[in-house]
Symmetry: C2
Subunit: 249 residues, 2 copies
């Protein structure tokens, strides 16, 4: 197994960083790594906003659910779906591309583009010995986040990515059985198989929490996730993305 | 610069593969790499369908725009947004989670989850000396793709990823200027700056095509992309994703 795959398999989210900030050179290398990811038909439909202004970080941390690591880290990046440049350049050429920009297809393309770039940055950071954590919590309040970051129309902040020097180690969380995630030639819907996989996984996760909390917690994955999905979250999103110009038709 | 970052920066899409198939062990390692990516609140809202059935590959290649490399490669993976397991486990527990599953927020989560996993697989493959190419073309005809792969409700194929042993080298395509993609603290909308960046990039791309085609092509990026966005593509997507249970509210 090569070093890169070791890095990838060894991933765990880091939620506690030292005070040490990333250097300009590190930030540059991370952004270049992000940019090297594939992009749908060369469209490059994303942007990255790096935040080091401490008051902005504090505001974003409060919106994202008061997690201290959103404020205290080596650097905070916010990944955005971005069709603003495309809108601008078409306007300048006198072309109307609104129907494309505002379609669900292009929305998906821009979200995928941003995610591919972010994962490149994550692996690059981890290969440098840095830790990372995605911050979906900024989607709690995208209206406020957009104001803080001053994003224009056709720009949609999607998630944060904090990067820094790890202060505390964390454990690798077990994933669903490979046989459950990976299907051969057709999607397998065999009820008995799904049952078997999810039961085995529930046991794995229950043991994982038990060991990590000295027996205080023993949640099963299916329970944890079902409970979390029982409360619809961020229900404003459907309208909000449209207001920003995405996913309208 | 470490080996992993070298691999990341050296990315180029490969569109021509030898006949050599991936081994079972290689496929397993690639899927494990994909699974190691971050996942939003542990939801794991994606699946991967590996296709080695030659007739299915041929059908998918035809739907995706008759690119020979969709049929001829080391292995074809299809990444899907997947909430089917979540739907099933909630049903079994007698819980109603439809409002969550069908929201735009969860749609975004599942698309991001799938993309992060896919990019992990891409980097892992490239670190092994394999080549990759994303196949957005399957979104030309997701209804037919869903039938071929027999995906149930709450599963949405997003893109293919072909992996294999490169037959022909390809060139690294230059990306937008870093200063254009990367913003500091707030999104920069200075018209003059945007102009400067896009003009410089157009020249870079024009030279790139000129050199690669012995002067036959000299497209500018802003022209190429504007032309492509003038024709709305895959306009059925807005309704289709809803039919599959996503992005409804």
């Amino acid at each position: 197994m090569n070093k890169t795959i070791e890095t990838i398999l060894n991933h765990r989210s880091i939620r506690s960083f030292t005070e040490r900030l990333l250097t300009k050179e590190e930030i540059r290398l991370l952004v270049e790594s992000a940019q090297s990811a594939s992009t749908s038909s060369y469209i490059q439909a994303y942007s990255i906003i790096g935040v080091d202004d401490q008051s902005k970080k504090r505001e974003l941390a409060a919106l994202a659910g008061h997690q201290p690591y959103v404020e205290k880290n080596g650097h905070l990046f916010v990944f955005c779906a971005d069709l603003y440049r495309h809108h601008k350049m078409a306007m300048e050429k006198g072309e109307d591309i609104k129907e494309s920009l505002e379609g669900t297809e292009t929305f998906m393309v821009s979200v995928i583009d941003a995610a591919l770039a972010a994962q490149n940055m994550s692996i690059a950071a981890e290969s440098m010995g840095l830790g990372i954590c995605y911050i979906g919590g900024i989607r709690n309040a995208l209206n406020e986040v957009s104001e803080i970051l001053e994003t224009p129309e056709y720009v949609l902040p999607l998630f944060g990515l904090v990067v820094g020097h790890p202060a505390n180690p964390s454990a690798k969380k077990p994933r669903l059985p490979l046989e459950h995630i990976y299907h051969e030639n057709t999607y397998q819907v065999d009820e008995a198989d799904i049952h078997k996989h999810l039961n085995a996984y529930d046991e794995t996760i229950s043991n994982y929490y038990h060991n990590r909390t000295n027996g205080k917690r023993a949640d099963k994955w299916t329970e944890q996730i079902t409970q979390s999905l029982k409360q619809p979250k961020r229900t404003y999103m459907h309208e909000f993305v449209k207001e920003k110009g995405f996913n309208k038709r």
